[in-house]
């Protein structure tokens, strides 16, 4: 059973990455070939795994090893293969393989050709790892790795300032979402005691966890999805991420990274169905995102940005569908939302990948992103144009292309909720309109920039083959989910009980009409030009400006988030240098000052006392120093006098000489007086000695 070796699916691209970085880096062709080989091998394995999973009737396969094993603290790494995983594996490897093949042509002549394939391999490793993960901890690991590789890929042309900015923005913005995801993980770890999907969902089912906790945990987890899937309000990074090479955009922003958020919501659907509130939040965020992005897409002129907003919009669609499913299920209703969301995720991957690759092909030919400088390219690049238009039809939801079937299910999911239904249809209309606006402006009409038009040419075969392949997929991929199929997509990928779609012809008709009318409006405005786009823009100037400037989200974030954070950082730095360090230095300063005071005290008080006593002694000595004649003979005399006096006293005490003290006192007085007399006479006689002894 190949499924046992499913862990190899992510490891194969990793192997490719390691080989390229360490061994094949200098051989460009070889790098590319090796990289493509690994992803193709992974694709083959994915197909086998899908078949085996089908054969098992969707029964899950799980295997893991312990990552960290501490008492009361266990982290696991493992794989979980269930239908959702199997489908995602197919989507990721298919689109990945197409993009890699396409990149050989698109990236040739790039100085960092090998590195590009290394990054692509690393990205695919992360994405596949994310898909096969069996627990929240592991999905978070790969979640972050996906962020890293998207950072590397978006910033691939890092010499361009815009690219360098964009990759940073992408990483940090998605990390804002991850913040919530992390908190969600902590809550899961704390309240559920495990990260394992099965374990967590089982606890939700048991109903032992308070509802509030489930709501909070699921909303926090959803934060991660908001970041990665570029949902409002963290959608701002995705359009900027178009600075990366176009294959990257196709891979990251169509099939994989942004799909990760939807995948996460789908994967943890059991969590969301535990909380109607959380699900409602999810659905509302999805609707807002979708509507907002679609409306911005109406007026953008950069081909890739239109596609980027279209992606955001479609992701919002899916999120909304999933949220509605959770909401309905939490209230014990039935909803096709889960099926719709995952199915749309699956079909969207193909046609959006195709759109990006087609756009890349166009850009490759005309070297600009601005659709106002294109036009009439259908004559120059037929394959590209046709495949692009197939994809556009698909995304517009035109029967019988893939997009029709999945979009139809979303409409069906929203059908019980009027606001959502209106929103959904409105978005479908806008989608059809802006996609076909893009098509008409790019491929039809007269070339608006003759120079670019002249140099345009069809892309090489290794670029167009993936286009064709994906175009075919965009047509037929949806057929696995035909409402008339008894064993279709819905009975394979489901949550809870298997869902059996039934054809709702009314809704089908409405959504088809809405799509067609969008296309028709675009046709009138940009092909027939019977309605002037400029006049419309002029007429609804404030709305146009608002949309053109993307609701000013970047500016708002810059003003309320980035600048304050930087200002706070600067403030903190100043605070640190001045206050915290100032305290330390101030302590040092105070110590010095204190020692100054002590020095003063020392000099004047302590030392003053010392000096004062010294002064006293000195003054005393000034008197007594007359005794210090420096003459040994005088000292001897002095000793003798004292000896005599002592002797006399002693003898008097022993009654040998009674009455002599009186004599000796007279003697001492006499000696002293006599000495003072002679001494003063002597000193007066020798002035030199006087000055000398002043020293």
């Amino acid at each position: 059973m190949i499924t046992k070796f499913a862990f190899l699916i992510p490891l194969l691209p990793l192997f490719g990455f390691v080989m390229i970085v360490f061994f094949l880096r200098w051989k460009e062709r070889l790098s590319a070939v090796f990289s493509i080989m690994t992803i193709l091998a992974a694709w083959v394995m994915s197909v086998i795994v899908l078949i085996e999973t089908l054969a098992r009737h969707g029964e899950a396969y799980e295997a893991f090893y312990k990552f960290v094993d501490l008492p009361r603290f266990i982290l696991e790494i493992g794989i979980l293969i269930d239908p959702l995983t199997a489908v995602m594996l197919i989507v990721v490897t298919t689109v990945g393989a197409c993009v890699e093949i396409y990149s050989v042509g698109y990236m040739h002549n790039d100085p960092r050709f090998s590195r590009f394939f290394a990054y692509l391999s690393l990205f695919l490793f992360s994405m596949l790892g994310l898909v096969v993960a069996n627990n929240f901890f592991m999905i978070f690991i790969f979640w972050e790795l996906v962020g890293l590789t998207s950072y590397l890929l978006i910033g691939f042309w890092f010499e361009k300032k815009s690219a360098a900015d964009a990759c940073k923005k992408a990483f940090i913005t998605t990390r804002m979402g991850d913040l919530g995801f992390l908190v969600g993980l902590f809550m899961i770890a704390f309240y559920f005691g495990t990260f394992n999907y099965g374990g967590v969902f089982a606890k939700v089912g048991e109903g032992v966890i308070p509802a509030g906790i489930i709501t909070a945990a699921s909303i926090f987890v959803f934060c991660g999805a908001v970041g990665k899937s570029a949902q409002w309000p963290l959608h701002v990074w995705l359009p900027d991420a178009m600075e990366g090479p176009t294959p990257v955009s196709a891979l990251i922003h169509a099939a994989t990274m942004v799909a990760a958020g939807v995948y996460l919501v789908a994967r943890s659907m059991s969590l969301f169905v535990g909380s109607a509130e959380a699900s409602l939040v999810v659905a509302i965020i999805g609707l807002i995102t979708s509507f907002m992005a679609a409306s911005i897409g109406l007026v953008q002129n950069d081909i890739k940005r239109v596609l980027a907003y279209s992606t955001v919009s479609q992701l919002g669609y899916m999120i909304m569908a999933l949220g509605l499913y959770g909401y309905d299920t939490a209230q014990h209703g039935h909803s096709p939302g889960f099926y719709a969301g995952t199915f749309h995720l699956y079909t969207h991957a193909f046609f959006k990948g195709l759109l990006f690759l087609g756009a890349g092909s166009v850009i490759h030919a005309v070297h600009t992103n601005d659709i106002q400088e294109m036009g009439g390219l259908v004559r120059k690049m037929k394959t590209t144009a046709i495949t692009f238009m197939i994809a556009s039809l698909s995304i517009a939801g035109i029967f019988p292309l893939a997009g029709f079937w999945s979009k139809d299910e979303i409409v069906a999911a929203a059908s019980h909720h009027p606001i959502f239904l209106v929103g959904t249809l409105g978005i479908a209309f806008m989608t059809a309109f802006y996609m076909w606006r893009l098509c008409f402006l790019t491929f039809w009409g007269e070339p608006r920039d003759q120079h670019r038009y002249d140099h345009a040419h069809e892309s090489p075969k290794n670029m167009t083959y993936p286009l064709v392949f994906l175009a075919v997929m965009s047509v037929i991929a949806g057929w696995v989910g035909l409402p008339w199929l008894h064993q279709g997509f819905a009975s394979f990928v489901y949550h809870g009980e298997a869902y059996h779609p039934h054809a709702n012809y009314l809704l089908m008709g409405i959504s088809l009409i809405v799509g067609l009318s969008g296309i028709y409006l675009a046709y009138l405005m940009y092909y027939k030009k019977s309605i002037s786009a400029e006049a419309m823009a002029e007429r609804f100037r404030p709305i146009y400006k608002l949309l053109y400037n993307k609701y000013y989200f970047d500016e708002i974030y810059h003003a309320v988030l980035i600048r304050p954070v930087l200002a706070v950082a600067d403030f903190m730095w100043t605070f640190d240098a001045r206050v915290v360090d100032g305290l330390v230095n101030g302590t040092g300063w105070l110590t010095i000052k204190w020692s100054d005071i002590k020095l003063w005290f020392d000099t004047w008080i302590v030392d003053g006392a010392v000096n004062g006593s010294g002064w006293l002694v000195r003054q005393g000595a000034n008197i007594l120093r007359f005794l210090q004649t420096g003459s040994m003979q005088f000292y001897a005399l002095f000793i003798l006098v004292v000896l005599i006096v002592f002797g006399v006293f002693k003898l008097e005490a022993t009654a040998v000489l009674v009455g002599w003290p009186f004599v000796s006192i007279i003697f001492v007085l006499g000696v002293t007086l006599l000495w003072l007399f002679t001494r003063s006479a002597f000193v007066r006689g020798r002035n030199g000695g006087q000055t000398k002894s002043e020293e």
Partner: protein
Amino acid sequence: MLAYLVLALVLFSIGLFGVLTRRNTIGILMSLELMFNAVNINFVVFNKFVATSALVGQMFAIFIVVVAAAEAVAGLAIVLLLYRNWQGIDTDNDSVMKW
């Protein structure tokens, strides 16, 4: 006996006076010799009149004589040194001995 002792006392006092008052260093040394002699007389007197058996007094006197000789030798050498260094041997260079 008392006469001898008084003689020694007087001689000692004279020597003492010399030590205390002579300005010349050699003079001081000479006065010291006088004092030594006074002491010697005392020893011999007591040896003769009080304890004759052991000749202890004379023995002390002999040693004192020898020590005095040694003292004189060293003292005079110092005097010569002083003379050489100070160009004079008077003791009234009084500031030398105090701070």
